[in-house]
Amino acid sequence: MLLYLLSGLTGIISGMGVGGGILLIPILVFLFHRDQHLAQGITLLAYLPTSLVAAVTHYLNHNCRLRTAAELAVGGVFGSFAGAALAAATPSRWLQKIFAVFLTVMAVYQLLPGGDRQDKQGSDSRRSD
């Protein structure tokens, strides 16, 4: 039950556009004692349906450029294979430390004045292709 509740909470944060997955991983590691690798695998899969619904919603609102997405996804898929292979080759203890560095960078980014991007509107007319 606690797992549903906390997943719901991170989902709320995701829905608000802040990125709940980054909280879900430490929750799984510290409260549910999953290994860092397993926590990352769970998060990758569990967020697929939510991302799909969000992507379709943005597409219907004309806020999703499929051509640019396809172009970026090419490099992205190569990077994913490399990143996931790197994760598999890294011991959990070290992966956790890398994750901690990433968390710190993201926390600082959230606190920067420019990190608040929800209020910025109207710049969408700057289409470049």
Binding site: L3, Y4, S7, G11, I12, I13, G15, M16, G17, V18, G19, G20, I22, L23, L24, L28, F30, H37, L38, G41, I42, T43, L44, A46, Y47, L48, S51, A55, H58, Y59, N63, R65, L66, A69, L72, G76, V77, G79, S80, F81, A84, A85, A87, T90, L95, K97, I98, A100, L103, T104, M106, Q110, L111, D116, D119, D124, S125, R126, R127, S128
Partner: protein
């Protein structure tokens, strides 16, 4: 003209690869590379960048999840429970977005992330 096109191809390849690398290594964070990359390097608007990043995170997460499953880093029973909770939460989060001041959400979020980072290094 050709030069501009070439430069764009390099930028797109680098942003895509970087986002994939982070997302594969840490399981999250692709969007954190993609959104600023699209806004600052490709000159896209914030809303377009946000929506487009979601469409990219989908295939790159599938690619990473494939490698994770080959290495047995998958726990289906936890995954589906988290997925159900996450989807219900995301629905309400999208509704709540207009009622909670963004700045406080970000501060609480940042404080939690910093505390977690410290705990992870110890």
């Amino acid at each position: 003209m050709l030069d501009v096109l070439k430069r764009r191809v390099v930028k797109v390849a680098l942003i895509g690869f970087g986002a994939g690398l982070v997302n594969g290594l840490l399981g999250v964070g692709g969007g954190m590379i993609l959104i600023p990359g699209m806004v600052y390097a490709l000159g896209m608007g914030e809303h377009d960048a946000h929506g487009t990043s979601l469409a990219i995170v989908l295939p790159i997460s599938i690619a990473s999840a494939f490698v994770y499953s080959r290495n047995h880093f998958i726990d289906w029973s936890t995954t589906w429970r988290v997925a159900v909770g996450g989807m219900i939460g995301a629905y309400f989060g999208a509704k709540l977005i207009n009622y909670i001041p963004d700045i406080w959400l970000r501060r609480i979020f940042a404080a939690f992330m910093l505390a977690t980072a410290v705990r992870m290094v110890l």
